[in-house]
Amino acid sequence: MRGNSTVLLALNKVLTRKLTTLNQFFLHARMHKNWGFSQLNNKVYQASIEEMKHADKIIERILLLDGLPNLQELGKLNIGEEPSEMLKLDDKLQTDDIRHIRDAIAVCEGEQDFVSRKMLADILAQQEEHQDWLDTQCSLIDTLGVENYLQQQL
């Protein structure tokens, strides 16, 4: 099926962000693990796998629309040096991702590609969930202090 080129461009942009985010989350998860924060490792690792699944859906959709998924493009990774900084950087990245997905949804709506729109809307719902988790962690660090917070993440 021949897809709309504007939609394909928007999907590829979201794909680039997905690939970037999954790499950042994966490295952060394993850094948490290396320092012994296994709770953080589990959660962030799972989020990275979710990003991979989202990327998979987008890749399949682009192929179905006779486009070429660009897996070569990768954005800048923002890797922190300590756990609280890493969570803040993840939160920022997730917020940016959500904004870009919303833009892509608007493009799909405008071009009447309702199937791509639904796929992105489903992805968006999961993104918002993880962003909420990240927001909660950042505010917990503020209220408990970073040492108390990290003690619960062993």
């Binding site: 954005g75 800048k76 990774l77 923002n78 890797i79 922190g80 040096e81 900084e85 950087l89």
Partner: protein
């Protein structure tokens, strides 16, 4: 955070380098090899340099010392060279 992941250069290292007289991404490249590999970090590195330079000039102005012009394109000259001994 890590600005350049390829060479493992952090923002703190860049701020330190700026305080020691580094003023451009080119000089960071000469010192650390920053941006030699994938080049994705140069944009952010420039931002870190600008911020650090603003902060250091604000600190110098508030400390009451006279402002001394340091040419930005001479990497070997550090600003401490110009400060007079206090005793």
């Amino acid at each position: 955070m890590y600005v350049c992941l390829c060479k493992g250069i952090t923002d703190k290292q860049i701020v330190q380098a700026v305080n020691n007289g580094t003023a451009s991404v080119r000089e960071l490249r000469q010192q650390f090899g920053l941006g030699d590999q994938c080049g994705k970090c140069t944009f952010m590195a420039r931002g870190v340099i600008n911020e650090a330079m603003q902060n250091s000039s604000a600190r110098q102005n508030s400390s009451g010392k006279p402002e001394i012009f340091v040419p930005s394109n001479t990497p070997s000259v550090s600003s401490s060279y110009f400060t007079l001994p206090t005793n």
